[in-house]
């Protein structure tokens, strides 16, 4: 996906960009509303992440202008003030959603997914491995043409495996990606979700293999 990140704090912009890039997204950064305008002229984006307090104006005004010019790009407002009235205002001026800084990237991803699904935009982003076809937006997994719905955590787990087939993913790594840091996680939580995902993959040549003491990996059984 291609993001336009409008954020004037350079440290924050850099870290958000690094974090999104790590997941394979393209990110352009604008440090002011003027730069953001230029970026929108030059390219098209799947999603705009918009800060509210910017050096050359209020992000909400930019949003209103964007909507008035019939810009259809979905917008998620990032607010640091988190004043309740700010949030209500942001949605009134046409934002698709808002997220309060500091945010959990898992939450940002979830919100992006929800917004994009609501908008029905974005080209089908599917990934395939062996006889599996994984549709991230629709949260479905097709096993040799047989469509199965995935629940959110199953889908995110599949996302992690299919992005790095054959690579061993440690239990700790999976826990960090699947659960929020402030939420208590039991020791066998990952086993539970891996078990569920395996059930959804029944009948496939692909399987999630346990590597004792190291973690799990997605492999293809060759007959």
């Amino acid at each position: 996906m291609r993001f336009l990140l409008v954020e004037d704090n350079r440290d924050l912009a850099a870290s958000v960009k690094a974090r999104l890039s790590m997941d394979g997204h393209g990110v352009d950064v604008a440090h002011s509303l003027a730069e953001a305008g230029d970026c929108l002229q030059a390219a098209s984006y799947d999603l705009i992440l918009l800060d509210i307090m910017l050096p050359d104006g209020d992000g909400r005004d930019f949003l209103a202008r964007h909507r008035k010019a019939e810009g259809a790009t979905p917008v998620i407002v990032m607010t640091a003030r988190s004043a309740v009235s700010d949030r209500v205002d942001a949605l009134d001026t046409g934002a698709d959603d808002y997220i309060t800084k500091p945010f959990d990237f898992a939450e940002l991803e979830a919100r992006c997914r929800a917004v994009l699904r609501r908008r029905g935009g974005v080209a089908q982003a599917t990934r395939a491995f062996a006889d599996l076809v994984f549709d991230q937006m629709a949260a479905t997994l097709a096993v040799a043409g047989d469509l199965r719905d995935l629940r959110t955590r199953e889908m995110r787990l599949m996302e992690l495996f299919i992005a790095a087939p054959g690579r061993i993913l440690s239990k700790e790594h999976l826990v960090d990606r699947l659960f929020s840091f402030s939420e208590p996680v039991s020791d066998n939580a990952i086993e539970v979700y891996v078990g569920r995902l395996r059930k959804k993959m029944l009948g496939s040549r692909a399987r999630i293999e346990t590597v004792r003491g190291l973690g799990y990996r997605l492999t293809e059984t060759l007959e």
Partner: protein, 459 residues
Amino acid sequence: MRVTPVSLRQRLVMPLLALSAVLSVLIYLSVRIGADRASEATLDAVLGAAALAMAEEMRAGEGGAVVDLSPVTFSMLAAMGEERIFYRVALNGQTLTGYDDLPAPATPPTALSPVYYTVPFRGSELRVAAVSRSLMVDNRASPLTVLLGQTREGQKAISTRLANRAAGLGLLVFLAAVPLSLLAAGSLLRPIATLAEAVGRRGPRDLRPIRHPAPAELAPFVTALNGFIGRLRGTLSQTETFIAEAAHHIRTPLSVMRNEAELALRQTAEEATRARLRSLIRAVDDSARSAGQLLDHATVLFRADQKALAVVDLAAMLAAMVARFTPMAEMKDMALRLTPADRALPVAGDAVLVEAALRNIIDNAIKYSPQDSDIDLHARMANGFAVIEVCDRGRGLGGSAVQGLRVRFQRGSNVGDVAGSGLGLTIVDEAATAMGGHFALTEREGGGTCATLSLPLQG
């Protein structure tokens, strides 16, 4: 030593009463003295005229004077009431007729105009008129003196009666002044009482300026009071702005810290470092959350003061909040199951307060529920209230007193490992109260908690 200030009523009534007392005494004295003087002058004139008439009736006779008192003169004296009359006629200092011991005036009368004086005589006060004239006796001019005395007992009695009446009149005036001055004080002080009542009736957070009509004399007081209220509002709003700015300045670096920690976590394989990074991220989340709730709390308090109530559709708000929280619930594989109301639920509320209340209720429900569980949300109306019920399958109240959970910074006894500030339910409770509604927590049958928010229906 503390001095109790004299009450305004007392300050007003006392001078009024003193004034009317002085007025009453003055009335009494002027009636009494005036009447005395007037009657004395009249009686004196008659007495003088009678004395003159007697003097005129003296004729010179052989070797002396002839006194020939006419009946007219005596009838004149008789007309003055039942008084006793004493007289003495003297020629050359020798008494011709009458009471020899009737005292002569201190200064002997010279002309025909009478001299009046009062002397004690035979046990009573006597008013005497003295006149003198010359009488030719034996071809010699001899001084003739007529003293005519009269008791004034009848006149005294009349004047005493008059004085009593005057005293009665004065007392009446004074007695009439008492209720009148109390009434005047009451009517003068009424605007102060009305104003005090208007200010006293206000709720604890009502900081609107006083618009109550007040007399011009009270205007400086009302202006000063409004100035004070204005400063208080200013301080409150500054506090809100300050918290908002502070939150901004804390949250942006916290975001950088959290992102960097998450990046480092992704890039490190060493478990000890990863554990440190995880606890760092948890701490950041905790402080960000607290900052947010402190701000929420300040905002709710501030908005509650404003009383900017408009019609808000609670059902639509709830649906929007459910949509908003669905991604977060899904992250835990939870579902938000909304049973919508069959019609709009308009309440008189502040959208910002309603949002804060609903957000904190749902956020709490998600936070304290296990993964894979569902949260049931109902919107309905009951007894003139729009009621929102949010029931989870979480850990329940754990025996914590429901009242206690609404107290600032107090958390349940069973929250243990879940991050929180203890402000969430306080915010909900305060928002509900500000809009004339209420908030309750109950244990749910079969485990979990039900949070109920009721707001009065509009129209």
